[in-house]
C-alpha cells in the first residue's frame, strides 16, 4: 500500500524517567534502586509515523511501549522531547485521536449505545447521532446489543464496542494499547482480521502496542521494535506484503525469526 508520505506523528528525542515508588524494586535489573530514585524508561526515542500507516510497537515486557504510546497520546508528559501531530505540539489528550485501552475502557454504567455515542455527543441532531452509532455498531458486528450493558458482553464484544466507540468519532489517529491481550486465541484472530479490514477501509493512522510478535507481523505496515529498558528504537521495519498474509513463508518468516531472536527467545522451542 502506498501512502502519501506525509508525516503524521513526529516523535523527537523523547526521554522518560519515572520515580521509583516501590520500596523493593520491581525487577532484578533495578536492584539497588531505592524509593525516590529515578528509573530511566525511554532513552531518546525518535520516530516518524506517516499518515494512514498501521504501526506496531513491539518490545519486551516492561520496556515502556505503553508509556511511549501514552506519551504520544498526551496522557503522560515526557521528561524531555517533543511530540508533534500534523506539526502541532501535543500537550494533552485530544478528541480527534482516540485511545483504546487494554481492557475495560467502556463505562460500565452506560449501555453499548450510550458508550458509542460518548464521543459524538456534540453532533447536532439525535438522528445524526443514531445513524452514526448504528453505522459503527454494524461495522463491529454488534447490532442487537446496543441496549446491553458492558458486563453482559463477552470480552471480545466489549473490545469491539470500544473500537466502535473510538471509530465513531472518526478519529485521525487510533492508539491501541494491547487491545486484544485479554481475549482468547480465536477471538483475537477474528479481531485482528476485522482490524485489518477496517484499516484498509478507513485508512486512518493506527499506533498499536503489542508484545505478540505474530500479531505485529500480521497487522503492521511498519514494525517498531524497542530494546530493553532504558529503551531505544532497535528496529524500524517496513512490511510491504499485502493482506492476507501468511507469516510462515518468505520474507515474513525471516522477519519473524529475526524478531524472535532479537527479543531473546528461540523461534523454535
Amino acid at each position: 500500500m502506498e501512502y502519501g508520505k506525509n508525516n503524521k506523528v513526529v516523535v523527537d528525542d523523547v526521554q522518560m524517567e519515572f520515580v521509583e515508588r516501590r520500596k523493593v524494586p520491581r525487577s532484578e535489573k533495578d536492584q539497588g534502586k531505592k524509593q525516590g530514585d529515578k528509573v530511566e524508561v525511554l532513552k531518546s526515542i525518535t520516530l516518524n509515523i506517516y499518515e494512514g500507516e498501521f504501526v506496531c510497537i513491539l518490545g519486551p515486557s516492561g520496556c515502556g511501549k505503553s508509556t511511549l504510546l501514552k506519551i504520544i497520546a498526551g496522557f503522560i508528559q515526557p521528561t524531555s522531547g517533543v511530540i508533534t501531530i500534523d506539526g502541532h505540539r501535543v500537550t494533552g489528550p485530544r478528541p480527534n485521536n482516540i485511545f483504546v485501552f487494554q481492557e475495560g475502557g467502556l463505562f460500565p454504567w452506560l449501555t453499548v449505545y450510550e458508550n458509542v455515542a460518548l464521543g459524538i455527543r456534540h453532533l447536532a441532531t439525535e438522528e445524526e447521532k443514531q445513524e452514526r452509532v448504528y453505522e459503527y455498531l454494524e461495522m463491529v458486528d454488534l447490532l442487537g446489543f446496543e441496549n446491553h450493558y458492558p458486563h453482559m458482553l463477552s470480552g471480545g464484544m466489549k473490545q469491539r464496542a470500544e473500537i466502535a466507540r473510538a471509530l465513531a468519532v472518526k478519529p485521525e489517529i487510533l492508539y491501541m494499547d494491547e487491545p486484544f491481550s485479554g481475549l482468547d486465541f480465536l477471538t483475537r484472530l477474528h479481531l485482528r482480521e476485522e482490524l485489518i479490514n477496517m484499516h484498509l477501509y478507513i485508512q486512518k493512522t493506527i499506533l498499536f502496542v503489542t508484545h505478540d510478535i505474530d500479531e505485529a507481523i500480521q497487522l503492521a505496515d511498519r514494525l517498531i521494535v524497542l530494546s530493553d529498558r532504558p529503551s531505544e528504537v532497535k528496529m524500524n521495519y517496513e512490511i510491504k506484503e499485502a493482506h492476507p498474509r501468511d507469516i510462515n513463508t518468505g520474507e515474513l518468516r525471516s522477519i519473524r525469526q529475526q524478531l524472535y531472536l532479537s527479543l531473546g527467545v528461540h523461534y523454535t522451542l
Binding site: 496522557f75 478528541p95 485501552f101 475495560g104 449501555t111 460518548l118 464521543g119 458486563h151
Partner: protein, 282 residues
C-alpha cells in the same frame, strides 16, 4: 431469621440432592417448603408463648401473651395512635435521612475530588465518625428543644457520616482509566461529574444509603424516647411508664415491620441497569 434460613437451606439441599440438579430453576421449584418453614417456626413460637403464659409459667404482666398483644394492637390501631406515631417516626427519618444523603454525598464528592481538602478534613471526620449519634442527645435537646428538630438532628448524624465516608471512598476508588477516557473524549468539568463521577459512585452510594437508612431507623426509636412526645419510640417509653407491656410489644412489632418494609423498598434502588453492573460483576 438466620436460624430459619439455615433450616430452609437444609430443606432445599435435600431436594436438590434428590433431583440431582443444582440449577437456579430447581432451587426456585423447591421454594415452597422454604417458604412454609419460617411460617411454621413463627406460629410454633407464638403457640408456645401463648401456652406457657396460659399455664402461668411466668407473670403475664412482665411478658403479655400473644392474645393480649393482638388486643392491644387493635386498640392502638382503632384509636389512630399507631398510625399517627408511625407517620411521625417515618417523617423524622425521611427528613433526617434525605438531609444526610444530600449533604453527605455533596461534601463526599467534593472531598473525594479535592485531595488536599480531604487530607485536611480526614482526621476530623475520622474522629467524629465513631461517636454514637445518641451521645449527642444532650446537645440536640439544648439546641433544638423537645420536638422534631432534635430527633431529625440525631437521625441526620446517624446517616451523615456513613454517607460521607462511603462517598469519599467511592470517588477515590474510581479507576483512573475512566478519567483518561473522559479526557480523551474532551469532557468538560461538568461532564466529568455527570458522566463519570456520579454514575461511578452510585452503586456504593446506594449500598451506603441502604445501611444508613437501617441505622437511622434504629436511631429514631432511641431519639424519640428522649427528645419528643410522639412516635414509636415515644410509644415504647410511654407505655413502659404506664406498665403496658402489651403496647410495648405492639410498638416493637410495628418498628420491625416498618424497618423491613423500608429496607425492601430501598433495595429496589440496586435493581436498575445503571447500578447493576457493580452488583452483577462476573
Amino acid at each position: 431469621m438466620g436460624e430459619n434460613s439455615r433450616l430452609c437451606k437444609f430443606f432445599s439441599f435435600a431436594q436438590v440432592g434428590i433431583s440431582g440438579h443444582r440449577t437456579r430453576v430447581t432451587i426456585k421449584n423447591v421454594a415452597s417448603p422454604s417458604k412454609i418453614c419460617p411460617l411454621i417456626i413463627f406460629l410454633l413460637m407464638l403457640v408456645i408463648w401463648e401456652i406457657t403464659s396460659m399455664v402461668g409459667m411466668y407473670d403475664s404482666g412482665t411478658l403479655p401473651p400473644p392474645s393480649r398483644v393482638i388486643k392491644a394492637f387493635s386498640e392502638l390501631a382503632s384509636n389512630g395512635i399507631l398510625l399517627r406515631y408511625s407517620v411521625a417516626s417515618l417523617f423524622r427519618v425521611t427528613v433526617g435521612f434525605y438531609l444526610a444523603v444530600f449533604l453527605g454525598m455533596s461534601i463526599g464528592v467534593l472531598l473525594g475530588v479535592w485531595q488536599r481538602g480531604c487530607q485536611m478534613f480526614h482526621a476530623l471526620i475520622q474522629f467524629l465518625r465513631p461517636i454514637s449519634p445518641l451521645a449527642w442527645i444532650p446537645f440536640a435537646l439544648l439546641w433544638f428543644g423537645i420536638g422534631d428538630g432534635s430527633a431529625i438532628f440525631l437521625i441526620f448524624l446517624s446517616s451523615f457520616f456513613p454517607m460521607l465516608f462511603s462517598t469519599i471512598v467511592a470517588v477515590k476508588n474510581i479507576p483512573r482509566l475512566y478519567f483518561q477516557t473522559g479526557a480523551n473524549f474532551g469532557f468538560t468539568k461538568a461532564e466529568f461529574f455527570k458522566l463519570v463521577i456520579f454514575p461511578a459512585i452510585l452503586p456504593e452510594v446506594v449500598t451506603a444509603m441502604r445501611i444508613s437508612l437501617g441505622v437511622a431507623w434504629l436511631v429514631v426509636v432511641a431519639a424519640e424516647m428522649i427528645a419528643v412526645k410522639s412516635g414509636l419510640g415515644y410509644l415504647i417509653i410511654d407505655s413502659r411508664n404506664a406498665l403496658r407491656m402489651d403496647y410495648v410489644i405492639v410498638a416493637m412489632i410495628t418498628i420491625g415491620v416498618i424497618g423491613l418494609t423500608i429496607d425492601k423498598v430501598i433495595s429496589q434502588l440496586q435493581k436498575p441497569g445503571f447500578v447493576r453492573w457493580k452488583f452483577e460483576k462476573k
